[in-house]
Subunit: 173 residues, 2 copies
């Protein structure tokens, strides 16, 4: 093989290698972007949008256990999109929240807002006003468990204002 042929053959190899590199980079970037999703992982279907008279922003409710006289328990999942939150409300027998992904806020009236995240479990006692929702930048996946439903399920109050929601660090637990 003469020098010119060698150069041409290496040029071809380099072009093939470059094309292969391009494909690999694209494939890697796709993998990376799958790994770096900021939307919380969902275990359940997205569900139905919560009504605007009870929620600010987009909160998606998936009922999992409906009320009956055997278990006296209501269970469901809510996915709060970033910035979304419930109105203030009370539960006659209290409520338990289990956070399965994302980052959010929970506030019992008169107490600091607490940051809630994957793996956290929070309780709100019977007939105490509270609200919960996503953080401004990251959504929240939360299971709610309402026990002793023979006493009642939920009483809705007024919405959480932007001033109440847009907290500063002094107000965080």
């Amino acid at each position: 093989m003469n020098s010119i042929n060698k150069i041409n053959s290496m040029k071809s190899l380099t072009i093939i290698a470059a094309a292969f590199l391009g494909l690999l980079i694209t494939s890697c970037m796709e993998n990376k972007s799958e790994n770096s999703k900021t939307e919380p992982e969902s275990i359940f279907p997205k569900g139905v949008k919560g009504p605007s008279e009870n929620f600010t922003g987009n909160a998606w409710n998936t009922p999992l256990v409906s009320n009956d006289s055997t278990y006296n328990t209501v269970i469901g999942n809510v996915y709060f999109e970033p910035g979304a939150r419930s109105n203030w409300h009370t539960h006659p027998a209290g409520q338990i929240l289990i956070i399965t992904d994302g980052v959010g806020y929970h506030q019992i009236e008169g107490k600091p807002i607490e940051i809630i995240k994957k793996g956290d479990v929070v309780k709100c006692p019977p007939n105490v006003r509270h609200w919960h929702g996503a953080s401004p930048d990251i959504g929240l996946q939360q299971l709610y468990i309402i026990p002793n439903t023979e006493k009642g399920i939920v009483n809705w109050n007024e919405s959480v204002t932007d001033e109440q929601y847009l907290i500063n660090k002094n107000n965080l637990k």
Copy 2:
């Protein structure tokens, strides 16, 4: 640049490209192996191994809500390793299971074994014998909710034999 220099310079480029390719392939393979984990995703800490008098194989319990007279509810997470299962048992006020990842089995006495997987919710009525656990090949992450605990929490019975567990397709719901 003469032909020899051109060949040498292209050889160097090819070697650099090959090294870069190698790195990219390794990085891609690492990503792929992260994505193809067969162990179920864990939301909670692994917890404490369930006692062998109540479980066959390795079942890891993380208590989340302990019993009290306000909520009358006990909640926890169990990670069943592949092949692990509970003994037969009853709950005086019934039990609700929420599957957050993996694949497992649930059987109410006298009924076919049902396959349970991520997103499923199953109930066992009060004082009915049942057992639950992982499938033979894939582990199970499950939340348990025991309501109305003023009636009692759990009564343990005998273990689930390999014959009861190693089901065939005719026995699957």
